[in-house]
């Protein structure tokens, strides 16, 4: 299953953020909870982690500012989780 990676809303007032740096290569594998990219809002940097394990397909570009909810990547999930439809 493909999991969409959208810009998260990290604060009440946050509407957009800058993807400052990818920490994983395009097409590379990621582990669950591994840091995917660095996001900067109001001069605060956060590391956004992979929600699932799988293969990363980057969509967003470094240095670009995106609105909350914009699609910046996809992770092609490695395995279906038990108890969930694939």
């Amino acid at each position: 299953m493909t999991i969409h990676i959208r810009i998260p809303k990290l604060g009440m007032e946050m509407t957009e953020a800058t993807l400052t740096k990818w920490l994983i290569d395009d097409g590379a594998g990621v582990a669950q909870d591994q840091a995917l990219y660095v996001l900067e809002t109001d001069k605060v940097e956060s590391e956004v982690t992979a929600p699932v394990a799988g293969v990363l397909r980057r969509i967003g570009r470094e240095g670009e500012t995106y609105a909350v909810g914009e699609l910046v990547a996809e992770v092609l999930e490695a395995l279906a989780r038990p108890g969930e439809d694939p």
Partner: protein, 332 residues
């Protein structure tokens, strides 16, 4: 039987604690997955890494005992028995939540399960738990009140006033400090003049105990002693459980202020996998049983999130409903 075995909780209690820890971790992972993928947005202060304390609490308390916790409270709330569906719905601020979606993570309250409330003001829940304990004493109900709070809260005036009064009146209260080493970005050692939180107990003439908060068996034993003491009328105990918040203060916290070696050590001491391995080793769980417990937790969590995500959010007018018991004559 070795000394360690003799002091261990019975097998059914240990299994129950593993079930609680698994359910808490599954729920926490689901919240973080939703947040990091941008699937939904909510305020969240992860208690990842502190599950063993909650498990000990859930197993040591009676269903009618009362708990006041904090914004970092998902573990405590699940362990106290707040139903998962309405709990998750509240996190996601839906009308089906325990507070009709108007409280969010910071203000979870569910009196039917004894979760009196959760507070966002550091230290503020401690005197509330003392009031709850006073009510139990006056009614002679035999209930015990637990105040669950962080290391940072021990520097507040309310911590001091609350314990002072509870000790003086021998109230049936347990002061449970979940010492995770940090208050926001400040390390405990930079915020307190004593070596350990538990050292403060002497100032109130009450017993204090400091235990490994990542070991549910030890936490359960210490809590059982404190709860028994409170229920018997002997008064409060200060219990310090040492632990670590594995995902930092808030969701998205990169923890740049935490030394790498400390974080690495904390990850290795992570309680859920550690307890699973121990229960397998002690013959309390079989691999197949553990897997079934984990599968059931995922299923329960999956259903709770699916239901919450399908529910509505409260309308703005709802902000004025439930503020006072009787609204007429109170607000224009």
């Amino acid at each position: 039987m070795s000394e360690r075995e003799a002091s261990l909780p019975p097998a059914h209690v240990r299994r129950r604690m593993y079930e609680l820890m698994t359910l808490i971790r599954s729920c926490d992972e689901r919240v973080r997955r939703g947040l990091s993928s941008g699937e939904f947005a909510c305020t969240y202060w992860p208690a990842t890494g502190q599950e063993a304390i909650a498990a000990g609490l859930g197993a040591a308390l009676r269903a009618d005992d009362l708990l006041v916790t904090t914004y970092r409270g998902l573990h405590d709330q699940v362990a106290k028995g707040v139903p998962l569906g309405p709990l998750v719905a509240e996190l996601l601020t839906r009308t089906t939540g325990v507070n009709k979606g108007k409280g969010g993570a910071m203000h979870i309250a569910h009196p039917p399960s004894g979760l009196v409330l959760s507070t966002g003001i550091v230290g503020s829940g401690i005197p509330i738990a003392v009031g709850v304990g006073l009510a139990a004493q006056l009614r002679g109900s035999g209930q015990v009140a637990v105040a669950s709070f962080g290391d940072g809260a021990t520097g507040t005036g309310s911590f001091h006033e609350a314990i002072n009064l509870a000790a003086l009146w021998r109230l049936p209260v347990v002061f449970l400090c979940q010492n995770n080493g940090y208050a926001e970005m400040t390390a405990t050692a930079h915020a307190q003049p004593v070596a350990a939180v538990v050292d403060r107990a002497a100032g109130y003439g009450i017993p204090g105990e400091r235990v490994d908060g990542n070991d549910p068996d030890t936490v359960h034993g210490a809590l059982a002693r404190a709860v028994e003491r409170a229920r018997s009328g002997a008064g409060p105990t200060l219990l310090e459980c040492t632990t670590f918040r594995l995902w930092g203060h808030y969701f998205g916290d990169a923890m740049t202020y935490v030394p790498a070696e400390q974080l690495e050590a904390a990850r290795l001491a992570e309680p859920v996998a550690r307890y699973r391995a121990r229960l397998l080793q002690d013959g309390v769980l079989e691999e197949a049983v553990a897997i079934e417990i984990e599968r059931q937790a995922l299923e329960e969590v999956g259903a709770a999130f699916a239901a919450a995500l399908a529910a509505d959010r409260p309308e703005p007018e709802e902000a004025f409903v439930d503020v006072y018991g009787e609204r007429s004559g109170v607000m224009a």
